[in-house]
Symmetry: D3
């Protein structure tokens, strides 16, 4: 029953999302030996003004 959350910068295309969930699901099944339909994935798009490293927003980098 793996449930997976992916946070990434906004701007990914629909095709990238499709490929991403397919890759992560297949890799998870290979690693854990679980069926594909047990894997749920939720993607979250993060704006650069909402992600910071070293105390600085990525929109300011």
């Amino acid at each position: 029953m793996p449930t997976i959350h992916v946070e990434m910068f906004e701007g990914r295309t629909l095709d990238q999302r499709r490929k991403l969930v397919k890759e992560i699901t297949e890799g998870t099944c290979r690693a854990l030996g679980c069926p594909a339909d047990a894997v749920q994935i939720i993607l979250t798009d993060i704006k650069k003004e909402n992600w910071a490293e070293a105390g600085k927003l990525f929109s300011d980098s």
Copy 2:
């Protein structure tokens, strides 16, 4: 002090949200014996292109 996060498909009406937080709060208080004002709930709307099962986006199902 239960803090509850609900992820659901986008498109719920304001009335559904109202009813949802009321139902979850009351059910939580009945189960745990806590006062209603100790219960915090955050709702997150997920687009079908951001939720996948079995390696496939719900927007493609």
Copy 3:
């Protein structure tokens, strides 16, 4: 497909957990009109030394 995360202080009994997930699931279905088997819930137990309000750990309150 609601996915629900509940964070609460540690120490709840198995019976309270059982009742909690039953109550939240039924309340969610009444509010959103979804089938019960679409509702996933994950409970997380938080130690009082890991939860703070007003800058103070609950273990120090």
Copy 4:
């Protein structure tokens, strides 16, 4: 490697975000003795119709 998520009401200015991630990063480094570039922060803006306390949405308060 602290990873920090902040959920807050929507409407904060870019300047408030800048100050927030700077303050949290510096405070974390002072408390944990870690370098600033080990601290990642993700901010999430929550609408008042998606946050509830005591079974009531903040948009209805």
Copy 5:
């Protein structure tokens, strides 16, 4: 900068964890075209008494 959280039932071996993070990282890089060292993954082990579907704990199924 993808940050990925995986929730799964407890009991996975260290080797399964190793394989899981390798597979997910490589799949994410293939899908998004990002470097491997931009991918952070946090695994969370969930007890069956803390995960429910259809209002029933998995420890009771």
Copy 6:
């Protein structure tokens, strides 16, 4: 009503936790102009075998 989650490697002392929540709360209040008692913080300890970067667990680094 900021709600803050901090994920960090396990092993922090109680004193570090105390200082951490105090620092983050005060910094948040300075940045957002909110009262201290509106700030909730939950700390999560992550084992090195559950955190990975570049496809490799920190316990293997």
